[in-house]
């Protein structure tokens, strides 16, 4: 090989290497993407099974006030937005597991965690409850969201609040009418 051709081959090799490094730099996923949760998507009414749990959205309700009986006393909880009550069924897949985090996600990506303002009994709540395989349990989830976001909400159920490499189910909520604001109740009794 002549001296000129040898040099051209070296330059081409170097350019190719730099090109490969730049390509990898731009296409390599970041830490957040690498450790992202394993998402399974589905619609309301159908079972959505992740690696560790399955969840099905049964019905969703909207209300301005929640009524709850606690130690024999009736209590009412109001909100500046609207209460979203989601009735779900849940079970474990293969071995006992828990669903540790619930949130509602809006169309623009904002997430609203399960409320801490309402204490649900172990019978109707799902947080901290151990699920068993093939034994679905019915439960209520309660969220507080601004009124203008209720039309497009997605339920996110995950193994843990910090969702690194964990399973997550994403389920779109469905409303009976095209304008869900018309179906907002004044009061909803969590005991009924």
């Amino acid at each position: 090989m002549s001296g000129g051709a040898h040099l051209a081959a070296k330059v081409a090799g170097m350019l190719l290497s730099i090109g490969a490094i730049l390509f990898m730099w731009h296409t390599m996923p970041g830490y957040v993407e690498i450790t992202a949760p394993f998402v399974t998507r589905g619609d309301a009414g159908e079972w959505v099974h992740t690696r560790t749990f399955g969840v099905r959205v049964d019905k969703s309700y909207l209300s301005r006030t929640l009524r709850q009986t606690s130690f024999g006393r009736s209590e009412e909880r109001t909100t500046s937005g609207v209460w979203v009550i989601v009735k779900v069924d849940a079970l474990a897949v293969h071995e006992p597991s828990m669903i540790g985090a619930f949130a509602l996600q809006t169309e623009d990506g904002r997430r609203y965690q399960h409320t801490e303002r309402v204490r649900l009994s172990r019978k109707v709540g799902l947080l901290g409850r151990e699920l068993q395989p093939e034994m679905p349990v019915a439960a209520l989830l309660v969220f507080e969201v601004p009124e203008d976001v209720v039309a497009n909400l997605m339920l996110i159920a995950g193994e843990r609040e910090i969702p690194h490499l964990t399973s997550e189910a994403h389920i779109s909520l469905r409303w009976q009418s095209s304008n869900p604001l018309t179906s907002i109740r004044d009061t909803l009794d969590l005991g009924s």
């Binding site: 293969h94 071995e95 006992p96 151990e130 068993q132 395989p133 093939e134 034994m135």
Partner: protein, 171 residues
Amino acid sequence: MSNELFARRRSLITFAVLLPAVIWMSAREDFAIARQSRATNAIDAMPAQAAQFSGFNWRLIDLKAAPTERTPEATQVEARLQIIATAREAAQSMRNCRVYLEDSTGQRWSAQPSRRGDISCAQLPDIDATEKPVMLVARFVIPTYRAEYVSLAVVIPKQRPRYLRFHFQRS
């Protein structure tokens, strides 16, 4: 063979040996942690047979199944295990011990919260089981169609991936 060819072949062999060695050295702890995070290697025992596991002698005394009153598709299974410690310090290794029912595919159900007066597996670190045998009671609710084909599994985090499994033959 020319010197250059010999050097290239030696480099290739060194690379083939070093690459897996480096991967193993950097990842062996992760492999070990992953292996110990699940109870996968069963030590099988028959119900009448006493089995040695984690410093205790284990014997499955009874595994009773009865349909639940409210829902016939669910069955309550009650397991009674007699255990005796072979050494006083054995109890400490029982921390976070859990009992499961397991079907032939490895699917598991955990025990319900224990009733007052019952001794559960998780209480063993606080009990002296060297003097006389201790009776453990675990209650499960499982699908009725699975009740015929389950085994009792005892999982102790310190012993993973090994765990004790009693095969139960319904009379």
